[in-house]
Symmetry: C2
Subunit: 127 residues, 2 copies
């Protein structure tokens, strides 16, 4: 091989979380296989929505996330994750004053899914 090999950078979650304070504004911190790793801080509740073509993973690193579904709800604490399948309506709610979470989802996934309103972040920032 004549091209130099890549030595990828390490991503430190705490360092990335320290770079922003806004709620409900996911930041892209990694990309692989057409998927993105995003970090978000949330407070209060979001909007009911679903994603037609994308499954979404939420891994909590601070606080407790309450995920409401039309037929039930789940609490996701630190060190726990949930996968919301495509097409399933959900409403993320921060059950503690602030929740920090890591999300895995296809690149281009809109935070508000099938709903476009003032909370939609069309082009999430890369950190």
């Amino acid at each position: 091989m004549s091209l130099p090999e890549v030595v990828p950078e390490v991503v430190r979650l705490q360092e990335k979380f320290d770079l922003f304070q806004e709620h409900w504004s996911p930041k892209v911190v990694g990309e692989l296989n057409g998927q993105q790793v995003k970090l978000a801080k949330i407070s209060g509740e979001f909007v009911w929505h679903s994603h037609e073509h994308e499954d979404e993973l939420f891994l909590v690193t601070k606080g407790t996330l309450l995920m409401r579904f039309r037929d039930g709800e789940r609490r996701i604490g630190v060190g726990e994750f949930i996968v919301v399948p495509r097409g399933v309506e959900h409403l993320p709610v921060a059950e503690t004053p602030e929740v920090w979470m890591l999300m895995f989802e296809p690149a281009g996934t809109l935070n508000t899914g099938n709903v476009v309103n003032e909370r939609t972040v069309a082009e999430p920032e890369h950190l």
Copy 2:
């Protein structure tokens, strides 16, 4: 909608890690968008390998992972991750007696990539 909505289960990383002790034997704990979430416990060093078509993410939850590359190395501690792009040779090494990590990669990714030997786990267990 006449079909009942899905209420997905929460995955607790600690509970899943408690279910196995083997080293270098990734367990599948989640699936989304053709990708899998795997957990692994490792000790000592693995084998040099690369993945022709798959990028791999390693997020450390216990200990320190040393990832060697042909042109350098990176240390990944708790709460840190690295993405190893497809085609890049790498050698994972546990720098502490044991390392626990979460991996995110396409379903079907072989742990030993382009190398098939006694450490290859062809069909990882689902927990």
